[in-house]
Subunit: 199 residues, 2 copies
């Protein structure tokens, strides 16, 4: 844009790369960054370069970590008999926030998707099988997303894991809490019926 | 959050400082930054530190610039008889985008606001008066926001500028284009009536 500092323009362009940030919000954010306290701006800039330069994958579960092993794999107090398989490292954060689960995790780094040319070989499966073989894993909870790819991947994993002696479970499908039966789609409602439990 | 790299947590905290970015979006943005191409992440981080370290105020109009004078003040081809007064440097970008105006700008860096303890002395007014005195300015367009503080500041400026021989104008109030009279507030509608023009 004419009349704008080239550095501001560069920042606006960079911010526009972020998901959900359009041209106007990028402009707004850039001006905000111009005016925020120097210390905070420095911290933001450094945090970005830190996550890129210092954060790597946990050698056990592929969670993000700045050490060899992530804090969860380092925590000896968690349930050693359970692994929760997630698609992406960020899903670990979501699971941890609910505070329901106390075992370990394993990041698949994707799901089987013939449409996108992703087969089982592209996923982080061999190390999962090794962990199950070497540990005393009793249950593997497959927490891939509740869509076609996530389901297919869960089925595929179950077939590989069951012979190793671990129970394979899948997170439940059903109505979202606070939802309304009237507005539920048929597939979800049918899954909710199938998954009904005694109260 | 337990299980998350400290660098990721730091980045999430920094991103949350930005306007309109809550905890969940900050988390989402942070994971996106983790996975974006190294080059783009580096550019984002550097852009932030560049705007803070290299961008300063134009010595003439207080627009943001990396040089002594901003590109607009450097542009000899613009209309030397007109200055548009804006509240903040970012408003210059907004005005430039519409491409309607071809004069120079002056950034007030705020508006008179007794509520927030901002009087005329806190604003960038003396240099504006000097510019009017020294140049051959025929018109000063006051483009402060159309609210109480913006109006009061416009009135105050008009009183100071008129004796210097320049015409002082105010951007028009009226119905937003694409708006609906039915939903216009009374004050806006009354201003729109007052500002009616022959067609």
């Amino acid at each position: 844009m004419e009349g704008q500092s080239v550095y501001l323009t560069q920042l606006v362009e960079s911010l526009q790369m972020l998901p959900g940030v359009g041209k106007k919000s990028a402009q707004r954010l850039a001006y905000y960054i111009m005016k925020m306290p120097q210390q905070e701006a420095k911290r933001l800039s450094e945090s970005i370069s830190n996550v890129r330069n210092k954060v790597k994958e946990c050698i056990v579960c592929s969670n993000f970590t700045e050490n060899e092993k992530c804090p969860i794999c380092m925590n000896e107090k968690r349930d050693k008999e359970s692994i929760c398989v997630v698609q992406e490292a960020k899903d670990i954060g979501v699971m941890e926030r609910i505070g329901e689960y106390n075992g370990y995790y394993h990041v698949l780094k994707g799901v089987i998707s013939p449409m996108e040319g992703i087969g089982p070989d592209e996923l982080n499966i061999p190390s999962l099988l090794n962990r199950i073989r070497e540990g005393k894993i009793k249950e593997v909870i497959v927490a891939t997303n509740p869509n076609v790819e996530g389901e297919a991947t869960a089925m595929y994993l179950a077939k590989l894991i069951r012979p190793l002696g671990a129970k394979v479970t899948r997170i439940a499908h059903g109505l979202p809490v606070g939802g309304d039966i009237e507005y539920a789609d048929e597939v979800t409602l049918s899954r909710a019926m199938q998954g009904r439990m005694e109260i």
